[in-house]
């Protein structure tokens, strides 16, 4: 394919809330430009992982090149950049956006703007994007395009008078979207004669090609056989292959200024690449790397243990494989008195945690116990050193701690105003500090600063349940602040259960301790003896429940004809016991480790 003039290229992203129709619109654009034959089309082509399709989220950035002959008679090369849509992947999103000049903002014409959309729109604005509002699902009876347009203008401050009204599902006015892309979004800028400067947008592992790197060429050209240097990691590679995605890989000789495409270069692991890195020519490098680079930084940690200790080696192989394709996920071996050998894993956020756990269970057929998620604390020790604490079980002796700092986030919550009262109460309970409160029609938008450790567990679930699913939530990490944090231990039958220890703010300790003890009382089956369940800080018991002794189990009759059936029942019971964890004399079912932390208030 010959070089496309810069003026005939459009690189754009699609910004949308989950379910507002981003993937469907992408499918329609691919179809309308004849990029794939009908036979090749599957729904939501760009979400290639099963989890992505099922949950309607995008985890990996993907691109597809579309050729569109516009009404002005010119053939344009459009690069659609499908970006992850979740706050956990905010940095990845920002890099994808930085590789484009414009965005389509897709809003459901009956639902309106959601908090998550907002965060991404602001990022697009930060990246100087031109933004075209698209109202999707205008064919539905509940659609209120005029109200939603007003909302876009009011909340985001975008001119929505020229919003394109479509139905991605039926294909209504897809042409209008394509015309808006070529007429309203700007072409890329860049210097074709300057030394190569390309942004590493994302990378993934392909079983046949090895590591595939998604790039946006900013200046210069990228050609096959070129020696390139990654400016942040310092590694050099010889480029084996360049090309672009349709979303099939099409190999070409080179990628020119302004183009989005992929390269392979015998890179062994995805972990060897850093999202946001600058790729330049080894011999004739560019002077300055691209701004905005940030190394991947896990913010939430939890322990993952095999249910059956014999599966540890399988788990090790599985996390290793996943890590090949996901450099933002980290792991190190951990051993727990209660759970045996496993891994302490770091994630970008809670969704990332859930996705990894689900992929381990589904793609690798593993049964896992996940311990309570915890955030990364910074401990200033009395000897002047500073450590990061990933696991409450590793907390140093309190006498050696000068100060504990915890991560804080700024959260934006949008909600119909009838739920506002309960949501404010929830935020206050979770040590939140209100920053801002605005009304847009009957919707309230509230901004809170919250400690992340109050959010990691069930904040989102609680928010969804008190707002009957209507509130939307988004956050970004702001800073670390000192906090009066204490380690709370749970003792079952007077034995501490390390996997249930948490760091908690002193003001929350009583409530959390009581809640956990009450939960465990229901989660741990009755034993032959009475079991005290206690929460303790230091040596002080702050909450206590008692599980009564089992008074009577089944005493059915049992004769010669019952033996086989009884033995089979016993075998099942033994199987169930395998899924329990022994703490001293008490057996705790594995689901208790997560369920104990859910608060029902």
């Amino acid at each position: 394919m010959s070089q496309t003039a810069l003026t005939n290229i459009r690189n754009f992203a699609i910004i949308a809330h989950i379910d507002h129709g981003k993937s469907t619109l992408a499918d329609r654009l691919i179809q309308a430009t004849g990029t794939l034959t009908d036979r090749e089309m599957t729904n939501q082509i760009l979400d290639s992982m099963d989890i992505e399709r099922e949950r309607g989220i995008t985890i990996k950035a993907q691109t597809v090149r579309l050729i569109y002959k516009a009404k002005d008679g010119v053939e344009y090369t459009l690069n659609l950049m499908d970006t992850p849509g979740h706050v956990d992947f905010a940095y990845e999103v920002s890099r994808s956006l930085a590789a484009c000049e414009g965005s389509l903002l897709v809003v459901d014409a009956s639902q309106g703007v959601e908090a998550q959309t907002l965060a991404n729109v602001y990022q697009a604005i930060d990246n100087n994007h031109e933004i075209v509002p698209i109202l999707n699902k205008v064919d539905l009876p509940a659609a209120e395009p005029e109200r939603v347009k007003a909302q876009i203008e009011e909340v985001i401050g975008l001119d929505a008078s020229q919003a394109v009204e479509i139905s991605a599902k039926t294909g209504l006015n897809i042409e209008g979207v394509l015309e808006a892309i070529v007429t309203r979004l700007p072409p890329p800028k860049g210097d074709p004669d300057a030394p190569l400067k390309a942004m590493l947008v994302d990378s993934w592992y392909d079983a046949y090609l090895g590591v595939v790197v998604l790039v946006r060429v900013i200046d210069g050209t990228l050609v096959k056989g070129q020696k390139v240097r990654m400016m942040r990691t310092g590694a050099t590679y010889e480029v084996d292959r360049v090309g672009y995605m349709t979303p099939k890989l099409i190999v070409t000789d080179k990628l020119s200024t302004g183009e989005v495409g992929v390269l392979t270069a015998s890179i062994k692991e995805v972990a060897d690449t850093a999202v946001g890195d600058t790729i330049t020519d080894e011999r004739k490098p560019t002077a300055e790397p691209l701004p905005g680079f940030r190394p991947a930084q896990p913010v939430v940690f939890c322990g993952l243990f095999p249910v059956d200790a014999a599966d540890f080696e399988d788990l090790r192989a599985a996390v290793g494989k996943l890590r090949l394709n996901d450099a933002s996920f980290s792991y190190e071996m951990e051993s727990s008195a209660a759970l045996g050998f496993g891994f302490r894993c770091g994630f970008l956020g809670l969704l990332h945690l859930e996705i990894i756990q689900e992929r381990l269970e589904r793609e690798f057929n593993l049964d896992l116990i996940a311990t309570a998620p915890s955030v990364v604390y910074r401990m200033l020790l009395t000897d002047g050193s500073e450590i990061e604490l990933h696991n409450p079980a590793d907390m140093p002796d309190v006498m050696k701690i000068e100060e504990i700092r915890e991560p804080w986030i700024r959260a934006s919550i949008m909600t119909p105003d009838e739920y506002l009262g309960s949501i404010l109460k929830l935020c206050q309970e979770r040590r939140g500090v209100q920053v801002d409160l605005n009304y847009v029609g009957s919707r309230a938008m509230v901004t809170y600063d919250l400690p992340l450790n109050e959010v990691v567990f069930d904040f989102y679930d609680r928010l969804k349940s008190i707002s009957k699913g209507y509130a939307s939530f988004d956050y970004q990490l702001t800073d670390y602040k000192p906090g009066d944090l204490v380690k709370m231990q749970i003792l079952v039958n007077a034995e501490p259960v390390d996997a249930l220890s948490i760091l908690v703010h002193r003001s929350q300790a009583d409530r959390r301790g009581r809640g956990m003890c009450e939960k465990l009382k229901d989660l741990i089956p009755q034993h032959m003896f009475q079991i005290p369940v206690q929460a303790a800080i230091g040596g002080k018991i702050i909450a206590r429940e008692t599980i009564r002794a089992l008074r009577k189990d089944v005493l059915a009759k049992c004769y010669g004809g019952d033996v086989t059936r009884k033995r089979k029942l016993l075998d099942k019971q033994k199987e169930g016991k395998k899924r329990m964890r022994q703490f001293g004399k008490v057996e705790i079912p594995q689901e208790a480790f997560i369920a104990a932390l859910k608060m029902d208030d």
């Binding site: 032959m528 008074r551 009577k552 059915a556 049992c558 010669g560 033995r567």
Partner: protein, 403 residues
């Protein structure tokens, strides 16, 4: 393989010429027919609206016994049990034919116990003399309750007066008599049960089987229970009822020798002791189960037969038995079975025999743990049993000690 006939599961079985085990050798004979199905019952019982061809079923029982006899050579029968269904629907002549066959196929011990289960109705009581003449020396009556309202709830066809009369006749006819009662019935209080049990004890049986009502899968009671139409006592009340039962029977000289069975000393059911002591037994008839020793001493052959009576008879007529499932129970599983059965007994189990059978010792940590909670105890002769507290939670104890 073009042979479309079902495989003969007993074809390759090699008999174990060990002789009669110390725990005894029992013959269980199942009569699978009932006049009506009781709503709590999950036994293999069937209601037929035409007369059952007793000659055909007697011949099939005899034929199946002959096959089982070849797998258990040299055994001396210590007990025969005619269970059901309702074996008191058998003609005395049918019982006679079957018992004669037992004596022809095996040696029957001179003091063998021969039990027949019977309903306490006047029709059936009329046949008692005939059963006695055929060789039955113990009868077990399904009395179930001592008040008419609960008898109706339990779907029984007799009333209290008929039951009392049947008990009188049985006591006069047979050397030994047992009857069953079901307690922990919907709405039953400790006081009501105490009165009923004391009345039952005055009827002077030497053996009582006292079962707590359990809601079994596939029964009408299960459907009613799920629909919320009947409620059974909660575990606390059930435990109180159990405690009261132990105290009343012990005071009356009928202490529990097994979780649900009470007897005057010496009057224990020898047949059921074979099961609980994990002895050897053959199961004859539709839906019957057996445990036959296999060569080598540790493993057992578990047999079970076709449950549908007519299909079972057809199979027996074709190949001499109706066995449709066999399983070689290895030593480890046999050890589990011995625990399941043996710990139900007040006499407990012999740990040395357990180790020999299962090929493994008990986990000392588990034993210590259970001892420290007072759930099990060792007797002076070294036997291990569940303590009186442990009996309540026997399933949990067995799960702790099992492989």
């Amino acid at each position: 393989m073009t042979d479309a006939r079902p495989q003969d599961l007993l074809a390759g079985v090699v008999p174990d010429p060990v002789g009669t085990p110390a725990e005894g050798f029992g013959v269980y004979l199942h009569w699978p027919f009932c006049t009506a199905k009781c709503p709590y019952c999950d036994f293999n019982s069937h209601v037929r609206h035409q007369a059952v061809d007793q000659g055909r079923f007697a011949a099939a029982l005899v034929s199946e016994m002959e096959t089982m006899g070849r797998l258990t050579p040299g055994r001396t029968v210590t007990s025969i049990f005619l269970g059901g269904g309702t074996p008191s629907l058998m003609d005395p002549a049918t019982v006679q034919a079957v018992l004669d066959a037992v004596a022809r196929i095996w040696t029957v011990a001179g003091d063998a116990e021969v039990t027949l289960e019977a309903n306490p109705s006047s029709v059936e009581a009329a046949r008692f003399r005939g059963y006695r003449a055929a060789g039955v020396n113990r009868v077990s009556l399904g009395v179930q309750a001592m008040n008419d309202a609960d008898l109706r709830l339990l779907g029984r066809l007799h009333d209290t007066a008929q039951a009392r009369e049947a008990i009188e006749i049985a006591r006069a006819t047979f050397p030994r008599l047992s009857f069953d009662l079901i307690y922990a019935r919907p709405g039953q209080t400790v006081e009501a049960w105490t009165a009923e049990l004391e009345a039952a004890i005055r009827l002077a049986a030497d053996h009582l089987s006292l079962y707590q009502l359990t809601i079994e899968p596939g029964t009408m009671f299960e459907a009613l229970h799920k629909a919320g139409r009947i409620a059974v006592p909660d575990p606390d009340l059930a435990a109180d009822l159990f405690v009261a039962t132990q105290a009343i029977t012990a005071a009356a000289g009928l202490p529990a020798y097994e979780i649900s069975n009470h007897a005057a000393p010496g009057a224990e059911s020898r047949h059921n002791l074979i099961y609980w002591r994990y002895g050897e037994y053959v199961g004859i008839g539709a839906g019957a189960h057996g445990r036959i020793a296999l060569p080598g001493g540790r493993s057992r052959l578990a047999t079970s037969t076709e449950r549908m009576p007519e299909a079972w008879a057809t199979l027996v007529e074709a190949r001499g038995h109706g066995v449709t499932a066999v399983e070689a129970v290895d030593g480890v599983s046999a050890g589990d079975e011995m625990l399941l059965m043996g710990l139900r007994l007040r006499e407990g189990i012999d740990p040395i025999r357990f180790e020999a059978l299962s090929g493994r010792p008990f986990d000392p940590a588990r034993i210590d743990d259970l001892l420290s909670h007072g759930m099990i105890e060792f007797l002076p002769d070294g036997r291990l049993r569940a303590s009186s507290d442990g009996w309540f939670v026997l399933d949990a104890i067995v799960a702790d000690l099992a492989a």
